[in-house]
Amino acid sequence: MDDLDRRLLNIAQADFPIAARPYRLLSERLGISEGEALERIRALAESGIIREIGPSFDARRLGHASTLAAAKVPPERLEGVANIVSGFPQVTHNYGRDHEYNLWFTLVCRDAGEIERTLEEIKARTGISDIHELPAERVFKLRVDFRF
């Protein structure tokens, strides 16, 4: 990744043009051609630095519900349980952590009822009953950009 990639990535994360020719607008800001801007973005996607280009919705404003969940899993079962949890499309993030509660995952569902049903199904399919639902009561900070 060179300097131009870094500048392109910083703009493309925060300010990707919502316009018919977005790469032309990006390229004009960097003084390169439209084709080069697109090729650089493609290369960043192929190397895995860019996951995708699209919207981050505020799930609540779409009427969706989200929560964090904490599970206590016997350490020798962590990987197997984690894989079952990850298999649910409602699960967006799923991390092992060095704590008695060793599996932490987030759910985005179409409503609160679906969160309850999904957690019940996770409990049934994993046999793990010690799972706590921890919805955000207040958000003080939510930063999604990373500066390169």
Binding site: R42, E52, I53, A70, Y95, R138, F148
Partner: protein, 157 residues
């Protein structure tokens, strides 16, 4: 939500195609004119329904590979002050208040990023000193099992 809005959200699941007219392809997928799709996306960005539109990055910038979930036990009447102080830390990406549960007395969560555990510990120590909240733990990530964009499960009804 209207049918058109639902089609637009579905068409954007998984991200835009990497082509020079990505919104045109998305509009065709959604079955709406490109102008209408662009206008809707701009309106959603303006009103906050879309928090951000752009490249989603898988990895943290080179070196910022350690992440710790800081969990803090903050008295209810000090939550506001703590939240504002923690949010001001450059090492903190997310800060939420969440319910306590039996056996877990912590109610404030801070995602802390650093190049090393020492960085994360130092950032937490600073927040602790600034707020006077000394009851906290750092839970380090041992495995990343999944990190994906939400699938917006639009009710068909």
């Amino acid at each position: 939500m209207t049918e058109t809005q639902i089609e637009i959200i579905k068409a954007l699941q998984g991200g835009l195609p990497l082509s020079d007219e990505p919104f045109l392809e998305a509009a065709q997928k959604a079955g709406v004119p490109q102008d209408e799709l662009l206008a809707q996306l701009r309106a959603w960005k303006d009103d906050g329904t879309i928090r951000r539109f752009g490249a989603m990055v898988r990895h943290h910038p080179a070196g910022y590979s350690v992440n710790a979930m800081g969990v803090w036990n903050v008295p209810d009447d000090r939550v506001e002050e703590f939240g504002r102080t923690a949010a001001a830390s450059g090492a903190v990406s997310h800060c939420y208040q969440r319910p306590r549960f039996a056996g877990f007395r912590h109610n404030l969560y801070t995602m802390i990023h650093g190049k090393s555990r020492e960085d994360c510990e130092e950032a937490a120590r600073q927040i602790s000193e600034q707020t006077g909240i000394a009851d906290y733990e750092l839970l380090y990530t041992t495995r990343e099992f999944k990190k994906a964009s939400p699938v917006y499960l639009i009710s068909e009804a």
